[in-house]
Protein backbone atom coordinates (compact mmCIF):
# COMPACT_ATOMS: atom_id res chain seq x y z
CA UNK A 1 0.00 0.00 0.00
CA UNK A 2 1.49 3.31 -0.98
CA UNK A 3 1.32 6.26 1.35
CA UNK A 4 -1.14 7.82 -1.10
CA UNK A 5 -3.56 4.92 -0.73
CA UNK A 6 -3.15 4.56 3.03
CA UNK A 7 -6.29 5.78 4.84
CA UNK A 8 -6.21 9.19 6.44
CA UNK A 9 -4.53 9.03 9.85
CA UNK A 10 -7.67 10.66 11.27
CA UNK A 11 -9.66 7.57 10.33
CA UNK A 12 -7.07 5.37 12.03
CA UNK A 13 -7.27 7.52 15.15
CA UNK A 14 -11.08 7.50 15.16
CA UNK A 15 -11.26 3.73 14.84
CA UNK A 16 -8.51 3.06 17.38
CA UNK A 17 -10.38 5.26 19.85
CA UNK A 18 -13.25 2.75 19.84
CA UNK A 19 -11.12 0.02 21.42
CA UNK A 20 -11.48 -0.09 25.17
CA UNK A 21 -8.72 -1.42 27.44
CA UNK A 22 -10.73 -4.58 28.09
CA UNK A 23 -10.93 -5.19 24.34
CA UNK A 24 -7.13 -5.22 24.17
CA UNK A 25 -6.44 -7.18 27.34
CA UNK A 26 -6.44 -10.55 25.50
CA UNK A 27 -3.49 -9.23 23.49
CA UNK A 28 -1.38 -8.21 26.48
CA UNK A 29 2.34 -8.87 25.97
CA UNK A 30 1.74 -9.54 22.29
CA UNK A 31 2.57 -7.90 19.03
CA UNK A 32 -0.63 -6.60 17.56
CA UNK A 33 -1.04 -5.78 13.90
CA UNK A 34 -3.71 -3.23 13.07
CA UNK A 35 -5.47 -2.77 9.77
CA UNK A 36 -4.41 0.46 8.11
CA UNK A 37 -7.69 2.12 9.09
CA UNK A 38 -7.34 1.00 12.72
CA UNK A 39 -10.70 -0.76 12.69
CA UNK A 40 -9.48 -4.28 13.42
CA UNK A 41 -6.60 -6.43 14.57
CA UNK A 42 -5.50 -8.57 11.65
CA UNK A 43 -2.76 -10.54 13.42
CA UNK A 44 -1.23 -10.98 16.83
CA UNK A 45 1.49 -13.09 18.38
CA UNK A 46 4.09 -12.94 21.11
CA UNK A 47 6.80 -13.15 18.43
CA UNK A 48 7.06 -10.27 15.99
CA UNK A 49 8.33 -12.43 13.14
CA UNK A 50 5.36 -14.77 13.54
CA UNK A 51 2.95 -11.83 13.56
CA UNK A 52 4.58 -10.64 10.32
CA UNK A 53 4.20 -14.13 8.84
CA UNK A 54 0.50 -14.05 9.70
CA UNK A 55 0.19 -10.76 7.84
CA UNK A 56 1.79 -12.27 4.76
CA UNK A 57 -0.40 -15.37 4.96
CA UNK A 58 -3.42 -13.08 4.76
CA UNK A 59 -2.14 -11.73 1.47
CA UNK A 60 -1.27 -8.39 2.99
CA UNK A 61 1.98 -6.53 2.70
CA UNK A 62 3.63 -5.11 5.78
CA UNK A 63 2.96 -1.64 4.47
CA UNK A 64 -0.77 -2.41 4.52
CA UNK A 65 -0.81 -2.57 8.31
CA UNK A 66 0.56 -0.97 11.47
CA UNK A 67 2.56 -2.89 14.06
CA UNK A 68 2.06 -2.32 17.75
CA UNK A 69 3.04 -4.01 20.99
CA UNK A 70 0.86 -4.12 24.06
CA UNK A 71 2.54 -4.23 27.46
CA UNK A 72 1.78 -7.00 29.98
CA UNK A 73 -0.96 -4.97 31.60
CA UNK A 74 -2.65 -4.26 28.28
CA UNK A 75 -3.26 -0.68 27.28
CA UNK A 76 -1.50 1.42 29.88
CA UNK A 77 -3.61 3.97 31.64
CA UNK A 78 -0.92 6.58 32.09
CA UNK A 79 2.35 7.20 30.29
CA UNK A 80 4.98 8.85 32.43
Amino acid sequence: MSEKSRPDRKIYVENRAKFLPEDLLPYASQWVVWSADGSRIVAHHSDLAEAARQVESLGLEREDVIFDHLPPEGEVTTLL
Binding site: Y12, L20, F67, L70, E75
Partner: protein, 134 residues
Protein backbone atom coordinates in the same frame (compact mmCIF):
# COMPACT_ATOMS: atom_id res chain seq x y z
CA UNK B 1 4.42 23.01 3.95
CA UNK B 2 3.65 21.28 7.20
CA UNK B 3 2.96 17.71 8.11
CA UNK B 4 -0.06 17.51 10.38
CA UNK B 5 -1.04 14.59 12.57
CA UNK B 6 -3.97 14.14 14.94
CA UNK B 7 -3.28 13.00 18.48
CA UNK B 8 -3.95 9.31 19.01
CA UNK B 9 -7.03 9.12 21.22
CA UNK B 10 -6.64 6.20 23.60
CA UNK B 11 -9.83 5.03 25.28
CA UNK B 12 -9.33 4.45 28.99
CA UNK B 13 -12.77 2.98 29.69
CA UNK B 14 -13.28 5.23 32.69
CA UNK B 15 -13.10 8.92 33.50
CA UNK B 16 -9.58 10.31 33.64
CA UNK B 17 -9.18 12.40 36.77
CA UNK B 18 -6.34 14.53 35.45
CA UNK B 19 -8.35 15.40 32.34
CA UNK B 20 -11.47 16.43 34.17
CA UNK B 21 -13.30 13.19 33.54
CA UNK B 22 -12.61 12.73 29.84
CA UNK B 23 -12.65 9.15 28.58
CA UNK B 24 -9.77 9.35 26.10
CA UNK B 25 -6.13 10.21 26.57
CA UNK B 26 -4.71 12.22 23.67
CA UNK B 27 -1.17 11.10 22.90
CA UNK B 28 1.22 12.60 20.35
CA UNK B 29 1.61 9.29 18.57
CA UNK B 30 2.16 9.32 14.83
CA UNK B 31 2.69 6.69 12.19
CA UNK B 32 6.35 6.16 11.32
CA UNK B 33 7.77 3.60 8.95
CA UNK B 34 11.22 2.19 9.63
CA UNK B 35 13.00 0.62 6.69
CA UNK B 36 15.94 -1.73 6.46
CA UNK B 37 17.47 -4.04 3.87
CA UNK B 38 14.78 -6.69 4.40
CA UNK B 39 11.69 -4.55 4.47
CA UNK B 40 9.56 -1.95 6.12
CA UNK B 41 7.60 -1.88 9.35
CA UNK B 42 4.89 0.76 9.83
CA UNK B 43 4.81 1.51 13.55
CA UNK B 44 3.32 3.96 16.02
CA UNK B 45 5.87 6.33 17.50
CA UNK B 46 5.57 8.76 20.40
CA UNK B 47 6.86 12.25 19.66
CA UNK B 48 8.98 12.81 22.75
CA UNK B 49 10.89 16.05 23.14
CA UNK B 50 12.36 14.62 26.34
CA UNK B 51 14.07 11.72 24.60
CA UNK B 52 17.59 12.07 23.25
CA UNK B 53 17.33 9.42 20.56
CA UNK B 54 14.96 7.41 18.43
CA UNK B 55 14.25 4.06 20.08
CA UNK B 56 12.76 0.90 18.59
CA UNK B 57 12.66 -2.67 19.92
CA UNK B 58 15.45 -4.99 18.77
CA UNK B 59 12.84 -7.35 17.32
CA UNK B 60 12.03 -4.68 14.75
CA UNK B 61 15.68 -4.49 13.68
CA UNK B 62 15.75 -8.23 13.09
CA UNK B 63 12.56 -8.15 11.06
CA UNK B 64 13.77 -5.43 8.69
CA UNK B 65 17.17 -7.04 8.25
CA UNK B 66 19.38 -4.85 10.39
CA UNK B 67 22.21 -6.84 11.96
CA UNK B 68 23.09 -5.47 15.38
CA UNK B 69 25.93 -7.93 16.05
CA UNK B 70 28.73 -5.40 15.78
CA UNK B 71 26.64 -2.28 16.24
CA UNK B 72 27.85 0.62 18.40
CA UNK B 73 26.48 0.32 21.89
CA UNK B 74 25.26 2.74 24.47
CA UNK B 75 23.35 2.92 27.70
CA UNK B 76 20.01 4.59 28.05
CA UNK B 77 17.79 5.35 30.98
CA UNK B 78 14.25 4.32 30.25
CA UNK B 79 11.44 4.98 32.67
CA UNK B 80 10.27 1.71 34.17
CA UNK B 81 13.34 -0.17 33.02
CA UNK B 82 16.24 1.66 34.66
CA UNK B 83 19.47 1.57 32.69
CA UNK B 84 19.26 -0.48 29.51
CA UNK B 85 21.81 -1.29 26.83
CA UNK B 86 20.99 -0.06 23.36
CA UNK B 87 22.62 -0.71 20.03
CA UNK B 88 22.74 1.80 17.21
CA UNK B 89 22.25 1.29 13.51
CA UNK B 90 21.32 3.41 10.54
CA UNK B 91 17.84 2.99 9.16
CA UNK B 92 15.51 4.93 6.94
CA UNK B 93 12.55 6.60 8.61
CA UNK B 94 9.47 7.87 6.82
CA UNK B 95 6.50 9.90 7.94
CA UNK B 96 3.63 11.12 5.79
CA UNK B 97 0.30 12.82 5.99
CA UNK B 98 -2.24 13.22 3.20
CA UNK B 99 -0.27 16.01 1.57
CA UNK B 100 3.38 15.12 1.75
CA UNK B 101 5.98 12.74 3.02
CA UNK B 102 9.47 12.93 4.43
CA UNK B 103 12.06 10.17 4.34
CA UNK B 104 15.59 10.25 5.71
CA UNK B 105 18.44 8.16 7.04
CA UNK B 106 18.89 8.23 10.79
CA UNK B 107 20.84 6.59 13.56
CA UNK B 108 18.29 4.60 15.50
CA UNK B 109 18.80 2.95 18.87
CA UNK B 110 17.43 -0.52 19.40
CA UNK B 111 16.68 -1.92 22.85
CA UNK B 112 15.97 -5.43 24.11
CA UNK B 113 12.89 -4.10 25.87
CA UNK B 114 9.63 -3.13 24.19
CA UNK B 115 8.07 0.12 25.27
CA UNK B 116 4.46 1.05 24.57
CA UNK B 117 5.48 3.02 21.48
CA UNK B 118 8.65 3.66 19.56
CA UNK B 119 10.24 6.83 20.90
CA UNK B 120 10.83 9.62 18.42
CA UNK B 121 13.37 11.77 20.22
CA UNK B 122 15.81 14.44 19.14
CA UNK B 123 18.71 12.71 17.40
CA UNK B 124 17.49 11.19 14.18
CA UNK B 125 14.01 12.65 14.30
CA UNK B 126 13.07 15.91 16.03
CA UNK B 127 16.38 17.49 15.02
CA UNK B 128 14.94 17.76 11.51
CA UNK B 129 11.60 19.33 12.42
CA UNK B 130 9.97 22.14 14.27
CA UNK B 131 7.27 20.37 16.22
CA UNK B 132 4.25 22.14 17.61
CA UNK B 133 1.38 20.51 19.42
CA UNK B 134 -2.03 21.51 20.64
Amino acid sequence: MSLRFPYLQVAMGRPIVSLGGKAHRPRPVIGVAIMGPAGTIPYDGLLDIGSDDVLFPEAVAALIGIDLTNAPQGTASAFGYGAISVRYAEATLRIADNQERREWRAWVSFAPVVRRYALLGYAGFLQYFTATGK
